[in-house]
């Protein structure tokens, strides 16, 4: 009988009179070679060796991959050590339940169910946070106040430079665009009203909220996600300490407190940014400030402040929530940080729209 030259692995298939597929393997099988392709029809097969020079785990792996679904497989004609290597893999596999292949519809259904669970977990976390806050008020929650002061610093004071820069540029851009438009109707003096009102009611809070999502939410998600990976949150639970109260509450409180203050700061810096452009153009400093003070009413200030409080809460909560449900892997922590920023910014924009409707209803 002729076969392929020594050195290259080969497999020949023929069908016997009783329908059994007879597969002959031979040559030298090793991990670095391309292996032959074999197609088996029917559910009975016998494998024999002819001119088998040597093999490493490439051959048992090939046999396992190609013959694991054959109902009647006869390997008795193969060398004993090869038989045992294939049978050992088959035995170990048969002790486990076979995995299912999911169809497209089933995958879509699974995605829907998982999304539902995800929203459920999100609302559950909000509930735990609110309950923890109530327990804190009556002095029953175990809160890490060391984290609270640390976050006042890192989420608040440390954010001042970036808030100042972005607030200044926002005011500057609005004034620039406003001047171009208002000049056409000879109303450039109202650029001060435009910038002051927009910064106070909208942009001061919105910009600060977005910055908090970028800086703080991602940091919280990474911190809590890493603690999840190293089972620190499990250790807290084992000690009878609620991780939401101990870890999330001080962070959420600190950010909810600091973001409104940063929002007020961003508003004033933005108004100043607008003044730089306006005064470089058509207005005097005195004109600009007079118009700005007239435009900023207590109502506008209150609207911006209420929004800031909500945005601060959303940014901190998104980080804590995504961190607490992060998968226990390096990839999971990265995903948690990304999704915290996305979730935070999305919720901030949605809630901003809701606020617009509510304030309109209450004539604020």
């Amino acid at each position: 009988m002729s076969h392929a030259p020594t050195g290259s692995p080969f497999a020949r298939t023929e069908v016997l009179a009783d329908g059994t597929a007879l597969v002959t393997v031979g040559g030298s099988w090793n991990l670095d070679q391309a292996l032959p392709v074999v197609v088996i029809k029917g559910d009975r097969a016998k494998v024999v060796a002819d001119g088998l020079v040597d093999f490493d785990s490439a051959l048992p792996a090939w046999l396992y991959a190609n013959f694991k679904n054959i109902r009647q497989l006869d390997l008795s004609a193969l060398p004993g050590r090869l038989q045992s290597l294939v049978q050992m893999a088959e035995k170990a596999s048969s002790e486990n339940v076979a995995g299912d292949d999911h169809g497209l519809l089933e995958q879509f259904g699974s995605w829907g169910v998982e999304s539902g669970h995800s929203w459920g977990r999100a609302f559950e976390h909000i509930g735990h946070t609110a309950w923890g806050f109530l327990r804190m008020l009556v002095g029953r929650a175990k809160v890490n106040w060391g984290d609270f002061t640390l976050q006042l610093q890192t989420a608040g004071v440390d954010a001042l430079p970036i808030v100042a820069l972005l607030g200044f540029l926002t005011g500057l851009i609005m004034a620039y665009v406003g001047l171009i438009q208002l000049r056409q109707v000879g109303a450039t003096v109202y650029v001060a009203n435009l910038v002051s009102l927009a910064m106070t009611r909208e942009m001061g809070a919105l910009m600060t909220g977005v910055i908090a999502c970028g800086r703080t939410s991602t940091a919280f998600a990474s911190q809590l996600g890493s603690m999840n990976v190293s089972q620190e949150t499990d250790a807290l639970r084992a000690l009878g300490i609620n991780p939401v109260e101990y870890l999330a509450l001080p962070r959420i409180l600190a950010v909810t407190l600091m973001v409104p203050l940063l929002g007020v700061f961003a508003t004033f810096v933005g108004v100043f940014g607008g003044m730089v452009v306006a005064c470089a153009g058509d207005l005097s400093v005195e004109q600009y400030l007079t118009q700005a003070v007239r435009a900023i009413t207590f109502k506008s200030f209150l609207v911006g402040f209420i929004k800031s409080v909500a945005f601060g809460f959303i940014a901190a909560w998104a980080g804590c929530y995504r961190g607490s449900v992060a998968k226990r892997s390096a990839l999971g922590v990265g995903e948690a940080a990304t999704s915290a920023a996305v979730l935070g910014i999305t919720f901030i924009v949605i809630s901003d729209a809701v606020f617009a409707v509510i304030f309109n209803l209450f004539d604020l």
Partner: protein, 252 residues
């Protein structure tokens, strides 16, 4: 007939942490296809010795060779070629947490083999099937138990059909059935591919079943307390503490 050249040797080896020597005057050699067990009380330096033998840590003194090459003197490609022919199972399995079990096994194959993607995939599936994880191959390490992670770590250690496999406490965390199957796997690997295996273990029944040689590290003297076939450690004539360690551990 002359004895086969030793695949692994150490001569007058000193090991430790930083500058602190915890074991010295360690001399042994192992022929290809043999199984060596390192035993001793906790903290005596078993894992440190295994790391030194595998070339992961430089010894504080003496010399180790793997396949005839002094790993501490070898550099670049020579060192990489030798390390490619070894497989390591670490105590905590050390699986890459962001990769599935299959991807963990495929990773060294993709780096070192020129085989097509499909064959790498079937090879990885086979290795996982060998350790009984055929149905968990798409799971992440965070989604499996400690015992399963250990088995996946063994599958990764076997990925490239290494000549020498180092196993740090392979049976720790496994149920008796899995532990017995692991013993079978170790013996069959040796039988099928002539793999040399060095293992650190506290499982005396498993050592008696699988190991050809055993080295007992004695923390009191800071060197080898005994070296020989593990069954001989149960016989009279051994140092009392070695005999006591084996007898006690066997019936725990």
């Amino acid at each position: 007939m002359s004895a086969p050249a030793a695949i692994l040797t150490c001569a007058d080896l000193a090991i430790g942490h930083g500058e602190m020597v915890i074991m010295d005057r360690l001399t042994l050699s192992l022929a290809p296809g043999k199984i060596l067990a390192i035993v001793g009380p906790s903290g005596c330096g078993k894992s440190t010795l295994m790391r030194a033998l595998g070339g992961l840590d430089a010894p504080l003194g003496g010399r180790t060779t793997l396949m005839g090459v002094d790993l501490n003197a070898a550099e670049g490609k020579e060192r990489q070629d030798i390390l490619r022919q070894t497989g390591f199972l670490f105590q905590g399995a050390a699986l890459f947490s962001s990769l599935t079990l299959r991807e963990n096994i495929e990773m060294p194959m993709r780096e070192f083999l020129r085989a097509p993607r499909k064959e790498i995939r079937q090879l990885a599936e086979y290795k996982l099937a060998l350790v009984g994880l055929a149905d968990a191959m798409d799971k992440l390490p965070s989604e499996i138990s400690g015992g399963m992670a250990k088995r996946a770590g063994i599958a990764r250690a076997m990925a490239l059909d290494p000549a020498v496999i180092f196993l740090d406490e392979p049976s720790a965390g496994l149920d008796p059935m899995s532990s017995g199957r692991l013993d079978d796997l170790i013996l069959r690997l040796r039988e099928a591919f002539g793999t040399t295996i060095v293992l650190v273990s506290h499982e005396i029944p498993s050592i008696l079943r699988t190991a050809d040689f055993c080295v007992y590290l004695d923390p009191d003297t800071g060197t080898m307390g005994a070296y020989g076939p593990p069954k001989s450690f149960l016989q009279a004539g051994q140092p009392p503490k070695v005999h006591a360690f084996f007898s006690q551990a066997r019936f725990d």
